[in-house]
């Protein structure tokens, strides 16, 4: 009986270790942020892009309307790719697109809009990137779908046709 305790406990220990490693195999090795989060939008103060006047977040987002907050920058190459999709989305007029100009040179940003068009209903500036952090953003480009001051879904990376379809489905 006594001789059996040692091999028995060794088997149990290896069993537990195997179980832990096996469970670890199933986990994704790449960090994937949660995109379907219902979170209140943050309250912040910023400056309007064209006029330079102070804007409060509470005056931008009204209740009972869909908003798409898009973080963009003229130096960001993927933003150029997604811009036509934003222009198309604006044509449908079902969602108000709000721009957050991220760590940008204002002159370059204006030229960017002149060249590719302006789909934004309103743009505010985030010069040091801290407002983006308040939103829980990772970088540019990133978009947040907002309804009743709540983030319904976030899209990390450039928008494409598939994601635009997803947005259209959600706002119907």
């Amino acid at each position: 009986m006594k001789n059996k305790i040692l091999p028995f406990s060794v088997i149990i220990i290896f069993g537990i270790i195997f179980f832990i490693f096996y469970k670890g195999l199933e986990d994704s090795k790449i960090y994937t942020p949660d995109v379907n989060i219902k979170k209140e939008i943050p309250v912040f103060n910023s400056k309007e892009f064209f006029s330079g006047e102070n804007v409060k977040s509470l005056s931008i987002f009204e209740l009972d309307k869909f908003y798409l907050l898009n973080i963009w920058s003229s130096w960001c190459v993927p933003c150029r790719q997604e811009h036509p999709f934003l222009m198309n989305l604006n044509l449908d007029n079902q969602v108000n697109i709000i721009g957050m100009n991220y760590k940008d040179n204002l002159k370059n940003a204006e030229n960017f809009l002149k060249e590719l068009g302006n789909p934004y209903k309103e743009i505010f500036i985030d010069l040091d990137g801290t407002i983006a952090i308040e939103w829980g953003a990772y970088g540019v480009p990133e978009s947040f779908l907002i309804y009743n001051n709540e983030i319904i879904k976030k899209y990390i990376g450039p928008l494409n046709q598939e994601l635009v379809n997803d947005i259209n489905l959600l706002i119907k």
């Binding site: 406990s9 220990i13 537990i16 832990i20 942020p33 990137g129 952090i133 970088g139």
Partner: protein, 121 residues
């Protein structure tokens, strides 16, 4: 009078710089404990990415607002989830990690104890 004023200025200067040094320590400690989510295996302190630089500014701002370390961690955890903290707290996903060494230690101890007892007999 002049000497008094001089000393007053020196004292104010020294105390304020000591305060600043404390804040810098606090800032470094916090940023070393926050994971740079867009970099590979770097803390906010180590990284010079856009994301990390903005986060550093925000940490400074929160320290100026008088928030404690725990409150600052909680703030970022709310924004980005548990993953942003390097020091994992005890919860249902990490309890194996925390109790495994203890379990192995107890089992090993029990085996050694048994062996020794056997030898003694």
């Amino acid at each position: 009078m002049k000497i008094l004023r001089f000393f007053l200025i020196v004292i104010i200067f020294y105390t304020s710089s000591a305060l600043k040094a404390d804040e810098l320590d606090k800032r470094n400690n916090i940023t070393k404990n926050l994971r740079c989510l867009v970099c590979q295996g770097q803390s906010i302190y180590d990284s010079d990415s856009e994301f990390a630089n903005s986060l550093k500014i925000l940490v400074d701002r929160k320290i100026d607002e008088g928030l404690t370390d725990a409150e600052i961690y909680e703030y970022f955890k709310n924004k980005y989830g548990e993953w942003i903290l390097y020091d994992p707290k005890l919860n249902k996903n990490t309890y194996i990690l925390w109790f495994m060494p203890l379990l192995i230690f107890l089992l090993g101890g029990a085996i050694i104890f048994k062996k020794l007892k056997k030898k003694h007999n």
